[in-house]
C-alpha cells in the first residue's frame, strides 16, 4: 500500500483547518480516490458528481492492487474551496471508498497524462510535425506516407501546447487518457 502513497484509515480530511473555505475563487484540484474494485464503484463516484452538480475535468481509473482488489481513481475537478471540501467529504462517505487524497493541498504532486495524436500531412508540414515532436519528446508509434501517430506523455498543459502546434500541421484525431497523479517524495 505504501507504494501508492495513500494512508488507510482516516475518513476525516482536516483541510478545514488548512485554508479558508467559503471563498468564491474557483480552484482546480486533483483528487486521488482509492476504491474497492467492485462492480458499479465507478458509477457511484460519477453519480455523486452528476447528482450533486460537481465538475469533472478529467477522470482516470484502473486497478492498482490486484490482490487487494483496489482501484485508483484520479479526478481533476474545479470548484470553490467549499465545493472542493464537500466533494472530498462526499467521496469519503461512499462505502466502497477506502481513502481520499487531495493532491493539490497535500504537497507537491507529479501529474502526467498520455495522449495519442494523428497528424496527416505532406511535404514541409510533415517535416515540421516530426521536428516539433522531437522537441516535445513525442514518439512516433505509427506512420504512413502521409500521416503520423504520435504518443506524448506529460502534464496536461504540455499536451495542450503540443496539440495546438499540431493543429495547423494536420491534426486529425486525438485521444487523451486524463491525468494520473502521485505525491512527490515518500
Amino acid at each position: 500500500m505504501s507504494a501508492l502513497h495513500i494512508k488507510k484509515g482516516s475518513n476525516r480530511h482536516s483541510a478545514y483547518n488548512l485554508r479558508p473555505t467559503f471563498s468564491d475563487v474557483q480552484e482546480r484540484h486533483t483528487i486521488a480516490v482509492l476504491v474497492e474494485n467492485e462492480p458499479g464503484v465507478l458509477a457511484r463516484v460519477i453519480g455523486l458528481f452528476s447528482g450533486r452538480g460537481y465538475n469533472i475535468e478529467s477522470l482516470t481509473v484502473a486497478e492498482v492492487d490486484h490482490t487487494g482488489h483496489l482501484s485508483r481513481i484520479t479526478i481533476v475537478t474545479t470548484g470553490t474551496p467549499q465545493v472542493i471540501e464537500q466533494i472530498k467529504a462526499q467521496l469519503g462517505r461512499i462505502v466502497s471508498v477506502r481513502d481520499v487524497h487531495d493532491l493539490t493541498v497535500e504537497g507537491a504532486a507529479v501529474e502526467r497524462e498520455l495522449a495519442i495524436l494523428k497528424v496527416a500531412g505532406e511535404g514541409d508540414k510533415r517535416v515540421e510535425a516530426l521536428r516539433l515532436a522531437d522537441i516535445f519528446r513525442a514518439n512516433v508509434v505509427d506512420s504512413t506516407l502521409n500521416s503520423f501517430v504520435f504518443e506524448i506523455t506529460g502534464a496536461p498543459e504540455k499536451i495542450d501546447a503540443f496539440a495546438d502546434l499540431m493543429r495547423p500541421l494536420g491534426l486529425s484525431e486525438i485521444a487523451r487518457t486524463g491525468v494520473a497523479a502521485l505525491l512527490r517524495g515518500n
Binding site: N11, Y16, F22, G40, R44, G47, G92, R93, I94, V95
Partner: protein, 583 residues
C-alpha cells in the same frame, strides 16, 4: 460456524443471526425461494403489505421506534422500483433499513427479462450502499455487511439484490463478523475540538443547543447524556422536527421546535445566540431560512458523525466529527473536570429574554365553537393521550407541523415523520411498523386526508395483522400546505389543491372491516377521541376541521429567523420574488 445451505435459506438464517423478528414484504416470482424458506420457519414474522412503498415506510416506522434496522423483502422489477420512494425517504432521514430484492437469474440479467430492472443502478443514488450478489458463496457475508453498513456511522438504507439462481444454489453460510468490515466510521470526537467547545460553553452569554435526529439515531444513551448536559449547564435547547423527544418537552430548558414552522422563542434564540451548539442536525433549509442572515452573531459548533454535513451549508467554528453519545460523554467529562463552569449571570439574563419571547405565545389561535380547529383537535389529542405508552407518526403537510407544535414528546423514538423527503403517504405504513414493534402501545398516525389516501391500501394490512393503529385524519378537504402557499404566493389562485370526491371514511373503514368515526362538532371531539383510543382495533378517525386554517408561526421563504409571521394579519405580500422560487 460454516454450514452448507441454499441461498434462500441463507437469507432467513442471516436475518435470524442479525436478530430480525419482523420482515415487511410482498412476494413475487423472483423471491419465491426465500418466501418458501419463510414459510418453513416460525422465528421471523412476515407482514404482508399491500404495496412495496408501504413495506419500506413500515420498516422505517419499525426502525425509528426501536432503533433496530427495519427489514423489507420484495420482488424484482416493479417490487424494487416501488421501494424507491421509501429508500430515498430513509436516506434523507438517516433511517437504518435493509431492503432485500429478488432479481432475475444471473444468466438472464441484461436481457430485458420479465420483471427485470437494473435495481442496483436505480437505487444507487437513493441508498447508503447496495449490492448485487452474483455468487451464493458471497451471499451471507454480503447480508451481514449490509446490516453493518445500515447501522454504522450515519445510518441509512441499504439494498441487497439477489438473483433467483443465487437463491436456489447452495454455498457455505457464515455468521456475522462486523469487525471484518472495512467500513468503520469514526465514533470518538477530537479532544482538542471538544475542549474548545467546553471553553466556549464556559464563556457563552447566550448559548443554545440545536439538536437533531442524530441524537436519536445515536441511541438512548445520547438522549440521556443530552438531558444531563442541558440540565447541568442550564443552556436552552431547541430541536429540529427529526429530533423531537431527545430532550423532554416538559424539561425546563425546552424551547420547542425550531425552523420554518418552529416556535417564535426557538427561532429568536437561534437568531440572537452567541454560541450555537448543533448536535446531530444538518442545517437543513427548513431550519436556516435565509443563509446570509442565519444567526449572524454566533460562534457555531457542530457535532456530526458524517464529515460531509460539516461546513456543507453553514460554516462552523468548532467542527467535531463523531457519534453524539461518544462526543457528549467526553464533553461532559471535560466540562466537569474543569469545574462545571458557565456564565450564570449572563445565562439568567438570556433566560429572561427567552421568557419575553415565550410570552408572545406564538401557538395561540382563534378557537371556534362551531368548527373544529386543527390545532384544537391536536391539543385535545395531546391532553387525552399524554402519559400513555404512545407512538405518533404523521403524513406530510400542515397537520404534520401542527402535530410537531401541539403534541409533546417526553422520550426519543416516539415520533416518526418524514422530514427530509417530505413523503406524503409515509405515516400510515410507518404506524403499522411501529405497532408491529410495540403491539401493546397506542400508535396514532396524525394525517391529512390527502396524504392518507396515498397509501390507504395498507388498511388491509392493519386489519389482517390486527394492528390497532389509529388513523387520526384532520380532514380539510384541501391539500392544506399547498393551499396555504398558493394563498401567500400565488394570489389565492387555488390550482388543484382541493379534493373532490373524497370517500366516506366511515364507510371505507367498514369496507375494510375496521371502525370508522366521523366528528365535526367541537363539543363531540373528546368523546370521539376516547372512543378511538378505547376501540380494540384499527380506527379511521375522520375529523372534519376548518378548511382554510393556515399554519403559523411561519418563516416565509427567503426570510430570516427574526422575520417570522405569527398570524393571518401579517401575511399580505410578505414573500418577495426572490423567496418565491424557493420551496
Amino acid at each position: 460456524m460454516t454450514r452448507e445451505m441454499t441461498g434462500a435459506k441463507m437469507v432467513v438464517q442471516a436475518l435470524k443471526d442479525q436478530g430480525v423478528d419482523v420482515v415487511f414484504g410482498y412476494p413475487g416470482g423472483a423471491v419465491l425461494p426465500i418466501y418458501d424458506e419463510i414459510f418453513l420457519q416460525n422465528d421471523i414474522r412476515h407482514v404482508l403489505v399491500r404495496h412495496e412503498q408501504g413495506a419500506v415506510h413500515a420498516a422505517e416506522g419499525y426502525a425509528r421506534s426501536t432503533g433496530k434496522p427495519g427489514v423489507v423483502l420484495v420482488t424484482s422489477g416493479p417490487g424494487a422500483t416501488n421501494a424507491v420512494t421509501g429508500l430515498t425517504d430513509a436516506l434523507l432521514d438517516s433511517i437504518p433499513i435493509v431492503v432485500l430484492t429478488g432479481q432475475v437469474p444471473t444468466f438472464m440479467i441484461g436481457s430485458d427479462a420479465f420483471q427485470e430492472a437494473d435495481t442496483v443502478g436505480i437505487t444507487r443514488p437513493c441508498t447508503k450502499h447496495n449490492w448485487l450478489v452474483k455468487d451464493t458463496e458471497a451471499l451471507a457475508g454480503t447480508l451481514h455487511e449490509a446490516f453493518h453498513v445500515a447501522k454504522s456511522g450515519r445510518p441509512g438504507p441499504v439494498l441487497v439484490d439477489i438473483p433467483k439462481d443465487v437463491q436456489f444454489a447452495s454455498g457455505k453460510y457464515q455468521g456475522p463478523k462486523p469487525s471484518a468490515s472495512h467500513y468503520q466510521p469514526q465514533l470518538k470526537g477530537d479532544m482538542e475540538e471538544i475542549t474548545e467547545l467546553v471553553e466556549a460553553i464556559e464563556k457563552a452569554k447566550r448559548p443554545v443547543f440545536y439538536t437533531g435526529g442524530g441524537v436519536i439515531n445515536s441511541g438512548p444513551a445520547a438522549s440521556q447524556l443530552l438531558r444531563e448536559l442541558v440540565d447541568a449547564t442550564g443552556i436552552p435547547v431547541t430541536s429540529t422536527l427529526m429530533g423531537l423527544g431527545a430532550y423532554p418537552a416538559s424539561g425546563r430548558n425546552w424551547l420547542g421546535m425550531l425552523g420554518m414552522h418552529g416556535l417564535y422563542e426557538a427561532n429568536m434564540a437561534m437568531h440572537g445566540c452567541d454560541l450555537m451548539i448543533n448536535i446531530g442536525a444538518r442545517f437543513d433549509d427548513r431550519i436556516t431560512g435565509r443563509i446570509d442572515a442565519f444567526s449572524p452573531k454566533s460562534k457555531k459548533a457542530h457535532i456530526d458523525i458524517d464529515p460531509s454535513s460539516i461546513n456543507k451549508v453553514i460554516r462552523v467554528d468548532i467542527p467535531i466529527v463523531g457519534d453524539v453519545a461518544h462526543v457528549l460523554e467526553d464533553l461532559l467529562k471535560v466540562w466537569k473536570s474543569r469545574g462545571r463552569k458557565v456564565n450564570r449571570e449572563a445565562l439568567q439574563k438570556w433566560h429572561k429574554q427567552i421568557d419575553e419571547w415565550r410570552a408572545v405565545d406564538c401557538l395561540s389561535f382563534k378557537n371556534s365553537e362551531k368548527t373544529i380547529k386543527p390545532q384544537y383537535a391536536l391539543q385535545r389529542l395531546e391532553e387525552l393521550t399524554k402519559g400513555r405508552d404512545r407512538y405518533v407518526t404523521t403524513e406530510v403537510g400542515q397537520h404534520q407541523m401542527w402535530a410537531a407544535q401541539y403534541l409533546n414528546f417526553e422520550d426519543p423514538n416516539r415520533w416518526m415523520t418524514s422530514g427530509g423527503l417530505g413523503t406524503m403517504g409515509y405515516g400510515f405504513p410507518a404506524s403499522i411498523g411501529a405497532q408491529m414493534a410495540h403491539p401493546d402501545a397506542l400508535v396514532i398516525n396524525v394525517a391529512g386526508e390527502a396524504s392518507w389516501l396515498m397509501n390507504m391500501q395498507e388498511m388491509g394490512t392493519a386489519v389482517q395483522f390486527r394492528l390497532p393503529v389509529k388513523q387520526f385524519i384532520l380532514n380539510n378537504e384541501r391539500l392544506g400546505m399547498v393551499r396555504q402557499w398558493q394563498e401567500l404566493l400565488h394570489g389565492e389562485r387555488y390550482s388543484h389543491s382541493w379534493s373532490e370526491a373524497l370517500p366516506d371514511f366511515v364507510k371505507l373503514a367498514e369496507a375494510f372491516g375496521c371502525k370508522g368515526i366521523c366528528v365535526s362538532d367541537p363539543a363531540d371531539l373528546d368523546d370521539a377521541i376516547m372512543e378511538m383510543i378505547e376501540y380494540d382495533g384499527p380506527v379511521i378517525f375522520d375529523c372534519l376541521v376548518e378548511k382554510h386554517e393556515n399554519c403559523f408561526p411561519m418563516i416565509p421563504s427567503g426570510k430570516a429567523h427574526n422575520e417570522m409571521l405569527l398570524g393571518e394579519a401579517e401575511t399580505q405580500g410578505v414573500i418577495q420574488a426572490g423567496g418565491a422560487v424557493l420551496v
